[in-house]
């Protein structure tokens, strides 16, 4: 009689990753996968908020030139100055904007770090099937989160170099504060537009799964509105894609053109 293979009572197996000493709150949240997913959802929500407002702000491109203090200015340049002057009597100029930027950078760092560590954890828990797997529920978006995430983060570096830092190697015509002209001159080049469109499709796919997944990770689940969660995620992803893709298309089609802002001041008299 062979010895029994399975032990009774306490689990026969040793943990793959034994429990570590618990750190004080709130660091203990980040020690477990459920906590990390919570952090990923919260930071994802912050980044999603940024993406939505970034796209909405960029829609000002279509408002063209407006009259400001007796001068003609591009409306989007005015908006850029508004962001730098956010809460100005309370904070010095650009301070609050930098506060927001540091918040976003922190969110990015945590989002990427949690994704990286969770991926490592999943790989160590996994054992590959030798026959062909048949996926039923996992869609393209959910299975490509790591790829789309990497594409989007690489694109953000390019996007910053192109339009925020104005590296002369990428955008030789860049000038500080000239948001309207910088944007049109940069996206008017077909290769930049192509990179932009590709990255935004990746972003849309990432949001399609991320915005739904967020509800589950945060424990936001109520039979009353569960059926809306997929639609909210799909709607958000679609709306953001539409807004963002409109910019290179409008620029390449010549709907908006770079130049000096002009307004007929007569109408204001």
């Amino acid at each position: 009689m062979a010895a029994p293979t399975l032990a009774r009572g306490k689990s026969a197996q040793r943990p793959i990753r034994p429990k570590r000493r618990e750190l004080p709150f709130p660091l203990n949240l980040y020690q477990t996968a459920v906590g990390k997913k919570w952090v990923m959802a919260v930071t994802g929500l912050m980044l999603l908020g940024f993406v939505v407002f970034h796209a909405l702000g960029n829609l000002k491109l279509y408002l063209g030139a407006v009259e400001h203090n007796g001068e003609a200015v591009w409306d989007i340049d005015l908006y850029g100055e508004f962001l730098r002057e956010l809460l100005v009597p309370l904070f010095p100029r650009t301070y609050f904007l930098w506060l927001l930027r540091f918040g976003l950078m922190g969110a990015f760092a945590l989002h990427i770090h949690s994704a990286f560590t969770l991926t490592r954890m999943n790989q160590s828990s996994n054992s590959r099937y030798q026959s062909k797997r048949d996926w039923l529920a996992a869609n393209f978006a959910s299975r490509s989160m790591r790829v789309t995430g990497v594409i989007v983060s690489l694109y953000i570096v390019f996007h910053l170099a192109d339009l925020t830092w104005g590296l002369s190697a990428i955008s030789p015509d860049w000038e500080r504060g000239e948001i309207y002209n910088n944007l049109i001159l940069s996206l008017g080049r077909w290769w930049v537009a192509l990179i932009y469109i590709g990255a935004n499709i990746a972003l849309c796919i990432h949001i399609f799964h991320g915005a739904w997944s967020m509800f589950q990770s945060l424990g936001l689940n109520n039979p009353r509105w569960n059926s809306l969660r997929r639609s909210v995620a799909a709607g958000l992803a679609g709306a953001i894609l539409l807004m963002n893709l409109s910019f290179p298309i409008a620029i390449l089609a010549g709907v908006v053109e770079a130049g000096e802002p002009e307004v007929s001041l007569e109408s204001n008299e």
Partner: protein, 257 residues
Amino acid sequence: MSTTLNLTLQVWRQDGPDAAGRFETYQANNIPDDASFLEMLDVVNEDLIENGKVPIEFPHDCREGICGTCGVMINGRAHGQEKGTATCQLHMRKFNDGDTIAIEPWRAAAFPVVRDLVVDRSPMDAIIQAGGYITAPTGTGGDANDTPIPKEAADSAMDAAACIGCGACVAACPNSAAQLFTSAKVWHLNSLPQGQPERYKRAEAMVETMEQFFGSCTNHGECSEACPKEISLDFIAYMNRDYIKSKRFNRKLAGQG
């Protein structure tokens, strides 16, 4: 009228936990289409034994979909292609004559192969144990309806308690996460008045034990599709909520379980 099927099986054979495994091809001829998947394997094994070969080891017990012992990957799907069905409830009439069927054990780092199609699922027992159990004799159970339970809570607990612990959720998960299993076991008790005293302690202990063995949830939803009891993904959200609540408000220190 019953018809018979002739099938080609590609079965994972592995002599022991440390042995190298390989697929072996077998012919399963004259299988009645009334047979269950496990009965088909029985027929194949009879044949192997008669020919002096080692039969295929596969996990099975009640063969009526309630014990959670059986479970193999059939053509890349946990418990085969039928929804809400355990391997033992899968019938051969769902296959066509001449089909090739690939049969593989559950795969996860925490589910080492014992032999052929049998895996060691004891980490799931460790999760159950972390949820707490009564060791002291406390007399007989109370009368029915002693504790008033809202109908909705009873229904929710019952849906969660439908979990038979077969491990299909882990097997189907690309991350080998046991979130669906653990959340069903957590919610089974946490949704009921009787489960409240240790609600948060239980959520923490079970989640943290789960994470010692299994991966993390990426919300693909494969687990729920594979589940023979069609356990809902909602329980995963409930478990996450209880776990985060517990950590955020430090209910352990506050004496709330």
